[in-house]
């Protein structure tokens, strides 16, 4: 394989309002190689890619394309060079055909009119060259997400792109679709196309990549050749030895012997096979951490327990009582749920703190039936009692600003999350489920949220914490379950657990090396 460098970024610095995100980062891609870019959330991967594609400007450093220094100030600039980015949010237009999408805005013409025949032929030629499972005339509407992604790739190739950037390309693909994508990646590589491959999934990275750059805390942690890509070593590098010695990466788990079972999940199975035969228990006063990669089925499991989605089969028992999961029933039984997508599912942006907090609690706010036959339509709320509840929530979890009338949509992530959490604290809870409770929240607020969860547990509430943040998982959990591809694959209980052991379990990587060390 030729070792000719196609893209090189040197000494890249970038900071956002004084906080350094990238420091002296070097990144180099050779012609015809698949170069993986890895790192934990917040390591700086996206920022680096956005600098390469001209979305962000760099503070310092240089970028070379085929040996020449270049300034990339917009995505158009980078397209002109021959770089195409295959985004997660696909930008294909469903009512058009494959060919029309590929040549959108660049349609071949005959006189004033589009030459559809030529367009289809050109697309077919590309499809043949790289052996894609597509037809030029197919309307995109009928295609699955995997095939739509291939159209994006074709679009890049039709512009003679020499470098494709793929950001978590398999995140929403089925196993079969992913395999088809891998095959195509291999074909592209043999045709001399370079690929930057960003993924959290180690197994894919091992399988595909020729080289691997690992970022940690905005710096180069390692640039590995294929022969040096060893699973345990990669995980270690991603997490970092420095962190390894600190308190956040290792923990002795303790479970309370003899605590009563609060939640008992038996054989829960999803309708669309995103999880199957899930059984576990949570005890009084226990914080159960649910770990694993994004897409492992964790969110789906907790949504089914709470009843947002209906499971195909399986049972849920709370304090020995069988539940019929639906949000309304769950709330009445004493289950609280804080969803992962705060803005999309957690709160009502236009409403105030008070009204958001009261939303699930109108059964306990004082109300007065003015005209009984009209039901809800004539059940007046005591404004004073509602406001008192809002104030109580603000006080009990320190929501800032301490204004019960403030619209939640205008608050910072941390305070909005406290509002979402706060409404459950107004009730007698038996079980609280929180999904990614501190995503996008600053460190101070994070800690406050952990303390709320811990104090709930002390009061006997069972807590389930779903999180992709390993440090968080270790910080709050009394016991940890790890999911992978829809199954619970590992339980950590009463033992010393490290970030790498959890990561290895979630990746399905053998733990021998780890076990040997432990």
């Amino acid at each position: 394989m030729s070792a000719e460098t196609i893209l090189e970024a040197k000494g890249i610095y970038k900071s956002f309002s004084g906080v350094p995100v990238l420091q002296d980062v070097r990144f180099e891609v050779r012609r015809g190689e698949v170069h993986a870019l890895m790192g934990e959330n917040g390591a700086g991967k996206s920022t680096l890619i956005k600098i390469i594609t001209g979305v962000y400007s760099k503070d310092d450093g240089q970028i070379f394309w085929e040996g020449q220094p270049v300034e990339i100030n917009s995505y158009q600039d980078c397209q002109k060079l021959g770089v195409a980015c295959i985004y997660q949010e696909l930008s294909v237009i469903p009512p058009l055909t494959v060919a029309q999408n590929v040549y959108l805005g660049r349609e071949p013409r005959r006189g004033k009119f589009i030459d559809f025949k030529k367009m289809n032929e050109m697309t077919q030629a590309l499809i043949d060259k790289y052996d894609f499972p597509l037809k030029p005339e197919t309307v995109v509407d009928h295609l699955g997400i995997g095939q739509r992604q291939l159209i994006e790739i074709l679009k890049g190739l039709s512009q003679n792109s020499k470098l494709l950037i793929m950001d978590e390309p398999t995140a929403s693909l089925s196993g079969k679709e992913a395999e088809s994508l891998f095959r195509i990646i291999n074909t592209l590589r043999s045709e001399g196309v370079s690929i930057i491959y960003i993924s959290h999934r180690l197994e894919e990275v091992y399988m595909l990549s020729d080289r691997l750059t690992i970022l940690r805390d905005g710096k180069n942690a390692a640039i590995l050749e294929k022969k040096d890509i060893i699973p345990a070593k990669v995980i270690e590098t991603m997490i970092g030895k420095v962190v390894d010695e600190s308190a956040g990466s290792k923990k002795q788990l303790h479970s309370e012997p003899g605590a009563e079972v609060r939640l008992d999940v038996r054989g829960l199975t999803d309708k669309s096979d995103r999880f199957r035969n899930i059984s576990f228990q949570v005890h009084r006063g226990e914080i159960l951490g649910l770990g694993g990669l994004i897409g492992a089925g964790r969110t789906e499991v907790v949504r089914a327990i709470y009843g947002v989605d209906k499971a195909a089969s399986g049972e849920v028992y709370l304090d020995g009582k069988k539940l019929d999961p639906s949000p309304k029933n769950s709330i009445m039984e004493g289950i609280g749920f804080v969803p992962e997508d705060r803005r999309g599912q957690g709160f009502i942006p236009l409403l105030s703190t008070t009204k958001n907090v009261a939303l699930t609690n109108y059964d306990i706010v004082k109300t007065n039936k003015v005209f009984a036959p009209a039901g809800d339509l004539a059940t007046a709320i005591s404004d004073a009692d509602e406001l008192a509840m809002g104030k109580r929530a603000i006080e009990s979890i320190d929501i800032r600003p301490a204004d019960p009338e403030k619209q939640v949509g205008l608050m910072s992530g941390g305070n909005a999350q406290k509002v979402v959490l706060g409404k459950w604290l107004m009730r007698d809870l038996k079980l609280l489920i929180v999904d990614e409770p501190t995503a996008g929240i600053d460190v101070g607020a994070k800690d406050e949220i952990y303390q709320i969860l811990e104090s709930l547990a002390r009061q006997g509430v069972a807590v389930i914490v779903v999180t992709s943040d390993l440090q968080e998982l270790l910080r709050v959990s009394h016991r940890i379950l790890v999911m992978r591809k829809g199954d619970i694959v590992r339980e950590f209980k009463d033992e010393v657990v490290t970030q790498s052991r959890i990561l290895s379990a979630g990746q399905g990587v053998a733990e021998e090396a780890e076990e040997a060390k432990a």
Binding site: Q345, L350, L359, Y362, D376, L377, I381, L410, S412, D442
Partner: protein, 328 residues
């Protein structure tokens, strides 16, 4: 706290400015009880209808069938009165029948929207021509006049303390609607579903049920509007109420009701209706030729809505700035 939130006072200020301007220009004619009653009377049907349709707007939905449903309900009440030989019983049954028609229409809209996930725009767009068709079939596409019983004509024209009854109906409906939206659990749910349906569902709210009830309420107030309109004009036809869809939506929008849902109040919507009435009346008093009133009304609406949008843009810009800062 240095910045006074002028937006909060913008609506009363516009109203006062308009009244002052008209008073200065045409003092005695404008500021008479008779003329004020006239203005309110002219917008009372729109005011009544917006009290129910606001529920649909708050959900982020729309009801395009208001005009023709209003017409069909007017036809219903008049035809039933004739069926019962213009008796008081006929009036009673007719009113019930018209309200039932309105409620059923709303139930139908709500059902199709929640059961099949068809956008409200399409459902009510289609049903508007159904209601028009029904009116035409029932009336043979003729105007049906109705001047008896006396109680029927009284609804639209009898004056109490110098003001015609429909104004009192409008005030009553506004109070009821305000109470439901501002004071009841259901009202809270409406704002919540309109603001974020997914989050509402997770909070245990039966989003479909709330949606259906809102469309039923819109149908019922439309029916009441239709009955009063029939009484005011002492006739009914397929064309009764034509143009009201626009007027009701306009009243809401001028009054700060967001068609995206989650935002708006009954006083705001009533303000919008009254402002429209004042504009019509003022243009009339100032002898603006009727050929030009449409032009002026359109401009005023754009200014009012742009003003509202500007304030929102300001808020969201602040929010974006904050978020960007946070992200960094």
């Amino acid at each position: 706290m240095k910045n006074i939130n002028w937006g909060k006072y913008s609506k009363p200020m516009i109203l006062i400015a308009l009244v002052v301007a008209l008073t200065v220009l045409r003092g005695t004619t404008f500021l008479s009880v008779g003329n004020i009653a006239n203005v309110l009377w002219s917008v009372s049907v729109i005011g009544i209808m917006v009290c129910g349709t606001i529920f649909v707007f708050l959900l982020g939905g729309i009801d395009l069938s208001i005009a023709t449903l209003c017409g069909f309900c007017a036809v219903t009440v008049v035809e039933v009165i004739h069926f019962f030989h213009d008796t008081g019983l006929g009036l009673f049954v007719g009113i019930l029948a018209a309200i039932a028609v309105g409620a059923l229409a709303g139930l139908f809209h709500g059902f199709i929207i929640t059961r099949f996930g068809v956008p409200a725009f399409l459902v009510t767009f289609a049903s508007q021509s159904i209601f028009m068709g029904l009116s035409m079939v029932v009336t043979n596409n003729k105007i049906v006049s109705c001047t008896a019983p006396a109680a029927f004509t009284a609804i639209g024209s009898v004056k109490l303390l110098g003001f015609p009854l429909p104004i009192y109906f409008m005030i009553l409906m506004a109070l009821l609607s305000w109470f439901v939206l501002r004071k009841t659990v259901f009202g809270r749910y409406v704002y919540s579903v309109g603001g974020n349906a997914t989050a509402s569902e997770i909070s245990g709210i039966n989003v479909k049920r709330v949606t259906v009830i809102c469309y039923v309420l819109s149908g019922v107030t439309t029916a009441i509007g239709g009955i009063i309109l029939a009484s005011m004009t002492q006739q009914a036809a397929a064309a009764t109420g034509s143009g009201y869809t626009n007027d009701v939506i306009t009243a809401g929008v001028i009054g700060g009701v967001s068609l995206l849902g989650g935002e708006g109040t009954v006083p705001g919507a009533i303000f919008g209706a009254v402002l429209m009435g004042l504009l019509n009346n003022g243009l009339n008093l100032l002898s603006v030729p009727s050929t030009q009133t449409g032009l002026v009304k359109g401009l005023v609406i754009i200014v009012a809505v742009a003003f509202d949008a500007m304030q929102h843009a300001d808020q969201s810009r602040k929010k974006v700035r904050k978020v960007v800062k946070k992200a960094a």
